[in-house]
């Protein structure tokens, strides 16, 4: 009996040591600040305690589809041209249906050729349906569309990851947000420069070069349309420029550009902040990939004397006449661009464009001062709650109260140690979960002690009463723990961020409680009883 108790006691002390290491790690010193520091290194604080930003982003995946079909339109056009079919228009008639392409105006004698051309080259990605008067409609296949949307989502996540890494955010979370469709959850703890971070994340950073079509820009969209005869050709678009795009001091104007870019967002190899050698103004110098550079060289060589525009996120940045062949580099300047903007923009171009633009659906920002206050309040509430419970147990159960308090203390150590080992995040509701664990954990002790008292009252000997008390209370304790853990599990599955943290601490706390209230408490009782004479009363 005696040795048995000793082994169990040693086991308990070992557990205590292991979990204390879990809380503090191996501290660098024993001073208060050193302990606090090592505690903070081990226990991960959630956004609501550390301060930071929680975002839900909606990826506008339709734009990615639209970009794909734009390319398809261009390639159908060139295929038709190659086959000598003229007079046909390829267009996307419905702005709300980016997955929908129409081919019309095909000469009757060539309709079979068009049909077989579409069938052979496009039927793997599109459902092709002939319509009246030699028209065909191509609708993107649902599987292809879903795939493209998923790809856009994955790429967006990747790009945002790279961007936040360059911002030096520690432990960011960037993952698909399961509640919505094509949404992304972004958590950036410890960030305090919110405006800049949001800019960096949200910038599509799609840099493109377009051929300028009209001979001159217009002051507003209205007059541009008027000059074009009230009708914008299907392969053209009107875009606004930044001031100073054409020359020093030129105003913001509208340009007619060819819709399909010469090169686009994925063709950038590198971008660096630099300065204009003549004026000393800040500028971004960018370099194209080899393939895009070759294409660009050919195109510029063939179009000397024409104008081209550099477009960033649908704003024209620069308009220049092509003086000679340009291979693989260019720059963005003007428009009063600042050093900080140049730095950020180069980074954005280096990390690549977003395949589609994003919108913010939710934004929660917790300032660092609120986080610090929350920790303070949470700790105060925990200590007050814990002391109240401990003092009450001492008064109510006297000797056995010490037992319960020891078990409660160990419960807390195991819970925090668990947090340290598992790397789970402690949130403010998580602290509430700790407090609740204290209250609920003591429940098991009360159940057992009340049962022991009952057995004592029924005239049983102390050791028999302790035996019976533990045996009878065990089933009830398991039942009560399971119900609460079921609740916590559902919270864990359905909850986000802070709520999840609550579910974690509550579950860990109750699991630890099974060990402390049932096993540890029993060992303490046994150790106590073994030092008493048989039948000597116990303090409960």
């Amino acid at each position: 009996m005696k040795t048995n108790i000793q082994t169990r006691l040693i086991g308990i002390i070992a557990v205590l040591v292991i979990f204390i290491v879990g809380i503090f790690g191996i501290p660098k010193g024993v001073s208060g600040t050193a302990l606090k520091q090592s505690l903070l290194n081990r226990i991960h604080l959630g956004l609501d305690l550390k301060g930071g930003m929680h975002l839900i982003l909606q990826v506008k995946v339709d734009e990615a589809i639209s970009a794909e079909t734009d390319t398809d339109v261009a390639s159908i056009q060139s295929d038709l041209q190659k086959n000598g079919i003229s007079g046909a228009t390829v267009s996307k008639p419905d702005a709300n249906r980016p997955d929908f392409i129409q081919v019309s105006g095909v000469p009757t004698d060539r309709s079979n050729d068009v049909s077989s051309l579409l069938e052979s080259s496009y039927s793997n990605r599109f459902d092709i349906a002939p319509g009246v008067g030699n028209t065909w409609t191509l609708t993107m296949k649902p599987t292809v569309e879903t795939e493209a949307k998923q790809r856009a989502l994955d790429q967006t996540i990747e790009v945002i990851q790279t961007r936040t890494n360059t911002l030096g955010v520690s432990e960011p979370i960037i993952e698909p947000y399961q509640l919505g469709s094509y949404q992304i959850l972004v958590e950036l703890p410890g960030i305090d420069d919110l405006g800049r971070v949001k800019d960096v994340i949200q910038s599509t950073a799609r840099l493109e070069a377009h051929e300028v079509l009209g001979d001159q820009p217009w002051p507003d969209r209205q007059s541009a349309l008027q000059a074009l005869g009230g009708y914008l050709p299907p392969d053209a678009e009107l875009l606004l420029s930044v001031p100073g795009a054409a020359s020093e001091g030129s105003p913001a104007e509208w340009y007619e550009l060819r819709k399909i870019p010469i090169w686009g967002g994925t063709d950038i190899r590198d971008a660096q902040p630099g300065h204009n050698p003549n004026t000393g103004e800040p500028e971004v110098d960018f370099y194209l990939t080899n393939a895009a550079g070759d294409k660009f060289g050919q195109w510029t060589g063939a179009n000397i004397g024409k104008y081209m525009a550099i477009v960033l996120d649908n704003r024209v940045q620069e308009v220049a006449v092509i003086k000679g062949q340009i291979h693989d580099q260019g720059n963005i300047s003007g428009g009063g661009i600042t050093e900080q903007r140049v730095k950020d923009l180069s980074m954005l171009l280096r990390t690549g464009a977003l395949p589609a633009s994003i919108e913010f659906s939710q934004e929660t920002t917790v300032g660092p001062s609120l986080g610090a206050d929350s920790i303070h309040q949470g700790v105060v509430a925990s200590i007050v709650g814990m002391l109240t419970v401990m003092v009450f147990m001492l008064i109510y159960y006297r000797g056995a109260g010490i037992n319960a308090d020891l078990a409660l203390f160990l419960n807390l150590v195991i819970l925090l140690g668990f947090m340290g080992y598992s790397g789970a995040t402690l949130t403010l509701p998580g602290i509430a979960g700790v407090i609740l664990t204290i209250g609920m954990g003591v429940d098991s002790n009360v159940l057992i002690f009340e049962r022991i008292r009952e057995e004592l009252r029924a005239g049983k000997s102390p050791s028999a009463s302790v035996d019976q008390g533990f045996a009878h209370a065990w089933t009830t304790i398991v039942d009560t723990h399971v119900t609460t853990i079921v609740s916590a599990a559902i919270l864990f599955i359905f909850g986000t961020g802070p709520v999840k943290g609550f579910a974690v601490t509550l579950t860990f706390g109750l699991l630890a409680n099974l060990f402390t209230a049932v096993f540890v408490s029993r060992v303490i009782f046994d150790a106590h009883l073994s030092r008493k004479l048989h039948g000597e009363p116990i303090s409960i």
Binding site: G180, E363, A372, G378, G385, G439, A488
Partner: protein, 402 residues
């Protein structure tokens, strides 16, 4: 020490009082939900913008209102004071319609912008200066690098040097003084004298600081609402299944009815007191479902045990006896949990106010319901079966596996 010495209370004899009590509370809650305050939902579910601002001085509601009206935010709601008055905090809420889905943080920008321009009395003379109450660490670092008060020039350690100074300021402000600096002179000893002089010349204190911002688009709000409803239903369902498995269906039904009763009364309490239900409140309610189940299980366990021991005793007496035997435990543990939750309610701060309120109300009601709702239901069920001429005994259930 003992609270109850061998109590012999006839609980079931008071069942009509209990019924009346439960009805009054649940019906008044429901009436409030349907006809009075409705179901006040937090920004999590409702969508909209909430900005929490702390002021250095007791905030002047009229001036805040005037500043916000200037920004054209006519439907803004200003809750003041938010939390204890000594905290000088204000909550500014914009409805969902004012929260534009495509430019979601316009509202926040407008609130913060108009406060810094129109609330601070000395705004005009501080044009172009750095607002030390709202400057981020990064902003402060780059401001210091630009000012270069220690004349470090472009030397490589200038950046780390100023970063340290900026961190000292933000740490002083955020970790130790709740986000507000009373006077720039207070930073003496926190930063180097040269930096302090630069701050005194080129920075100012706007007297307020944005503590947290929450912006929720309509779509996300709906998703969360749906999710919360699902979670609550699954939770109740999960309990039912577990109790069915451990006891008998009727025990499960009685316990779930009791939990449902607790949920309605707790939610009703939110409506009656016009407090908003947030995501964490839902978490609290789900926890309550588990907790209220605890108490019920303890009583049921005892009923089951007694049923096995004495099959002759009338069920009503047996249930009474079981409740009385567990009364001490029920009151003690609920009391202790209540105390911890109360300490959370009193000291846990504004963010957890709704959460701890739900727990405070729910623990009281949950304890009451396991005695006054769940157990009497078992008896009522047996009476009903007896009247229909079926076997009168309540299933003692499978033998508990110990």
């Amino acid at each position: 020490m003992e609270l109850f010495h061998n109590p012999r209370i006839d609980w079931l004899g008071k069942k009509w009082y209990f019924l009346g009590f439960s009805l009054i509370f649940s019906v008044s809650g429901l009436l409030s939900i349907f006809f009075w305050h409705g179901l006040p939902l937090d920004v999590d579910f409702r969508g909209g913008t909430v900005v929490r601002v702390k002021f250095a001085q007791p905030p002047d509601a009229d001036r805040i209102r005037a500043a916000i009206d200037k920004a054209g935010l006519r439907d803004a709601r200003i809750q003041q004071p938010y939390g204890p008055a000594v905290n000088n905090e204000v909550l500014v809420t914009l409805s969902r319609s004012a929260t534009n889905e495509s430019a979601i943080d316009q509202g926040r920008a407008a609130i913060v912008g108009t406060l810094s321009q129109n609330y601070s009395p000395s705004a005009a003379q501080n044009q172009g200066k750095l607002d030390l109450d709202n400057a981020s660490g990064t902003a402060l670092t780059s401001w210091l690098e630009q000012q270069d008060p220690e004349h470090l020039g472009n030397s490589p350690d200038a950046e780390t040097r100023y970063q340290d100074q900026a961190n000292a300021v933000t740490h002083y402000r955020d970790a130790d003084h709740s986000g507000i600096i009373d006077s720039i002179g207070d930073l003496r000893g926190v930063v180097d004298p040269a930096v302090l002089t630069a701050l005194q010349q080129g920075a100012y204190l706007s007297g307020f600081s944005v503590r947290s911002v929450e912006i929720v688009g309509a779509q996300v709000g709906k998703q969360l609402q749906h999710q919360a409803e699902l979670a609550t239903l699954y939770s109740l369902g999960g309990m039912l299944v577990y109790l069915w498995f451990r006891f008998e269906l009727i025990y499960g039904v009685a316990a779930v009815v009791a939990c449902f009763h607790d949920t309605i009364i707790t939610v009703g309490a939110f409506s009656l007191s016009n407090q908003e239900i947030s995501l964490t409140v839902i978490a609290a309610i789900l926890t309550l479902i588990g907790y209220s189940m605890n108490d019920t299980i303890v009583v049921f366990d005892r009923i089951r045990e007694n049923l096995r021991l004495s099959r002759r005793e009338p069920l009503a007496d047996l249930v009474n006896r079981s409740i009385n035997q567990t009364l001490s435990r029920t009151v003690l543990t609920s009391g202790l949990t209540f105390l911890t939750v109360l300490s959370l309610f009193l000291f846990g701060g504004e963010v957890l106010r709704g959460f701890s309120f739900a727990l405070v109300v729910g623990i009281l009601i949950g304890t009451y319901s396991s005695i006054a709702v769940a157990a009497p239901m078992l008896v009522a069920y047996q009476d009903w079966r007896a009247r229909r001429g079926r076997t009168a005994s309540l299933p003692a259930a499978k033998k508990a596996r110990v």
